[in-house]
């Protein structure tokens, strides 16, 4: 799809969404359960001179900067809702345009399109459980992808299907069981054929138990099997890479008097290829608190520690997926500036592993954003 066509589709989508949720469209408001349009401007700096297997160009600089404009929309639409069954459509998409400089060879103007959508259907099964089926798609495309240290994930399309069973409470504890499957196809370009190596299929199961009202606590355990059909192992008898991942952890959340979430999870990844075997621990926290002058402060932090089982000099990873080891810290100060509209100032720091294992880049950014909820939804 051409850039102009994408812009056209996005703008028409946003227009339609705005019309659907205009203040005079009461029925549309009933149907659209949540809609947020946002736009903003950011300045970011990047540090780290790293090799990147999935980028076609290289540059000697270890410092780069970019000015970025972004537009986005996300929301939830009720497809139907009856007493014992209901279905929702959710969507989230956006466009980001960079003007990046500081490279030795030339400046870049990458443009990112990212979107995801899902349809979920829930049905009560007697009085003992609720079942939810979900079909989703997530994709992204990048034009003029720059070299490191401005790391942008490559384009891909990921389809998912999942089923989830939530059992009724037993002694105030509710158990859930979920299974999902995923198909990921990375967009290989003529000069970046290795991107095809990142294609994968995976299946997972998860069991969890949750309890508490207002303040909730949940423990879970999950197992996942992934296959990378284009990646070879050194074993002739078992030539295709297959990973098995086990995760366990807990999450805690409270809604009042402040919104707070804390999650902790441990990951053990083993493979028939020695290279990507690792263990990781990760803590994630989101806290939103009130400040004077009607300002709300929200902090999002993720800290991850990862260690590889085997020492290899060159570890080409699946960006952002297998390399789930980013540490991020964001502070967002927001305030209502008009009916349905919030203004937000955000500072952020990211330290993440790029395509190559054990090689990290850093990102520092400041953003000014506006968020609009049409019809004060």
């Amino acid at each position: 799809m051409s850039t102009a066509r994408r812009l056209f589709v996005l703008s028409r989508g946003l227009l339609l969404a705005t019309l659907l949720c205009g203040p005079t469209q009461a029925a549309a408001q009933e149907r659209v359960r949540d809609l947020v349009l946002n736009g903003g401007f950011s300045v970011e700096a990047y540090r780290g001179n790293l090799a990147a297997a999935s980028v076609s160009v290289a540059d000697t600089t270890d410092r780069a900067a970019a000015a970025i404009g972004e537009l986005g929309a996300r929301g939830t639409v009720m497809l139907f809702e009856e007493e014992r069954r209901w279905a929702f459509l959710s969507f989230d998409g956006g466009l980001r345009q960079f003007a990046a400089g500081g490279f030795t060879v030339r400046d870049y103007a990458p443009r990112e399109w990212a979107g995801q959508t899902a349809v979920s259907y829930s049905q009560l099964l007697g009085s003992w459980a609720a079942a939810t089926g979900r079909l989703g798609w997530r994709g992204r495309a990048v034009d003029d992808r720059p070299p490191m240290p401005l790391f942008l994930q490559p384009g891909f399309g990921i389809a998912t299907a999942s089923a989830r069973l939530e059992l009724s409470e037993i002694d105030r504890v509710s158990f859930d069981l979920a299974a999902d499957a995923e198909w990921a196809d990375y967009t290989a370009q003529p000069l970046v054929a290795p991107l095809d190596l990142l294609d994968r299929t995976s299946q997972g199961v998860e069991v969890g138990a949750a309890w508490g009202e207002g303040t909730t606590f949940r423990v879970f355990a999950a197992a996942r099997r992934s296959e990378y059909p284009h990646q070879q192992t050194s074993e002739p008898s078992d030539p295709t890479r297959r990973d098995g991942t086990v995760q366990a952890g807990f999450s805690w959340s409270m809604e009042a008097p402040i919104t707070a979430q804390l999650g902790f999870e441990g990951t053990v990844n083993r493979s028939n290829s020695r290279r990507p075997e690792y263990d990781a621990l990760s803590v994630r926290s989101v806290v939103s608190v009130p400040l004077p002058f009607d300002v709300g402060a929200t902090v999002l932090g993720v800290l991850t520690a990862k260690s590889y089982v085997n020492d290899n000099e060159f570890k080409v990873l699946v960006p952002g997926e297998e390399a789930d080891n980013a540490s991020v810290l964001y502070l967002d100060l927001s305030r209502a500036i008009a009916a349905g509209m919030d203004g937000s100032l955000r500072v952020g720091w990211t330290r993440a592993e790029a395509d190559v294992g054990d090689a990290y880049f850093q990102r520092f950014g400041v953003s000014m954003l506006l968020r609009y909820r049409p019809g004060s939804l």
Binding site: R33, V36, N38, R74, G75, T76, E83, W86, F88, L89, S90, D92, G94, R96, E112, A118, S122, L124, S127, A130, R134, G136, R140, Q153, S162, R164, E166, A178, D180, G204, E206, F220, A222, G249, E255, A256, I258, Q261, G263, E265, T267, R284, V286, V287, S288, V289, G296, T298, L300, V302, G320, E321, N325, A326, Y330, D332, S334, G348, A352, R363
Partner: protein, 309 residues
């Protein structure tokens, strides 16, 4: 017989509608006007029954709503937080049911009004026809028969017209309908009823203040929640950080609503804070309307007492 101009207009419109509908409706094309009157009378009776049933259903829900509001008040007075919360959840559920029930009553009232207009129009048309036949009747037997028919039709029309103002049809939606004027009321009883209604209005004020507090608390909570959601969604949208949130099934995607039982034990999609806010606002409007009615009715009782002296 004096007929109000609006009633004349209504009848003429009804007659015009029937005259237009008669040749267009295929089964009715070959029917006699008398059949039309019978059909429209049956439709009117059905609409009246449905309206009455909806009104009765509204009264049941209103009673449950009242009980929940009073239970909440009792819980608050007793300092029983659990009872207070349970009663509030029940009041919110009933508030939504009451709203739906009110809409149903209003909708059926519209249907009933249309059925009545159609029937009156058909009766007018039929009476005009019989009147013409009466003028042309040659034998006394025919004249007597047609005159009796005309009287029957006139009585039928008067009856339908009179039903327009019958309490069963005209009844307003009244909160606490048990506190009404009774012809046997003494001045003391009426003063007592007025005081009771004013006390209820006072309690409605206190209840509205509590609802306002809850709305304020929920709006703040919603803002924090939205701030947290917005930050996470916007950071993760472009995959900058790929924050390790775990397997896809563990991420509660937007739109995945869990189930929860309501006050009657029936499971429904988990209520969102936005929906709860809407319910609270609806309950607030209902409480305000109830308070307005209490004060109005208290003033009526006091006025009656003053007039009696």
């Amino acid at each position: 017989v004096s007929v109000r101009p609006t009633a004349w207009l209504t009848r003429w419109l009804g007659a015009a509608w029937v005259a237009l509908a008669l040749p267009l409706a295929s089964p009715a094309a070959g029917q006699q006007p008398q059949d039309q009157v019978v059909n429209l009378q049956l439709a009117y009776n059905a609409a009246r029954s449905q309206y009455q049933a909806a009104l009765d259903a509204w009264r049941v829900v209103e009673k449950q709503w009242t009980d929940a509001v009073e239970d909440h008040e009792a819980g608050r007075r007793a300092g029983d937080q659990d009872r207070e919360n349970t009663a509030l959840v029940r009041a919110l559920d009933k508030s939504r049911e009451l709203d739906l029930s009110e809409r149903r009553v209003a909708e059926l009232r519209g249907t009933l009004d249309r059925a009545r207009t159609g029937l009156l129009g058909a009766l007018d048309l039929r009476m005009e026809q019989v009147d013409g036949q009466l003028a042309a009747a040659r034998t006394p037997i025919d004249r007597n028969r047609l005159a009796a028919l005309l009287r029957d039709l006139q009585n039928q029309q008067d009856e339908v017209d009179a039903a327009r103002d019958e309490p069963a049809v005209k009844l307003q939606l009244v909160y606490y309908p048990s506190i009404q004027f009774d012809v046997r009321d003494t001045p003391e009883t009426m003063v007592g009823k007025a005081q009771l209604l004013r006390a209820k209005a006072g309690r409605a004020d206190s209840y509205i203040a509590q609802i306002d507090g809850e709305i304020d608390r929920l709006e703040k909570q919603l803002r924090f929640r939205r701030n947290a959601q917005s930050l996470a969604a916007e950071v993760e949208r472009f995959g900058d950080a790929q924050a390790p949130l775990g397997a896809p099934s563990r991420r509660v995607a937007p739109g995945d609503a869990s189930a929860r039982p309501d006050s009657t034990g029936v499971a429904r999609p988990q209520e969102t804070p936005e929906q709860r806010l809407e319910e609270l606002r609806l309950l607030r409007v209902q409480m305000q309307e109830a308070k307005r009615q209490f004060l109005e009715r208290a003033a009526t009782f006091e006025e009656r007492v003053r007039r009696i002296g």
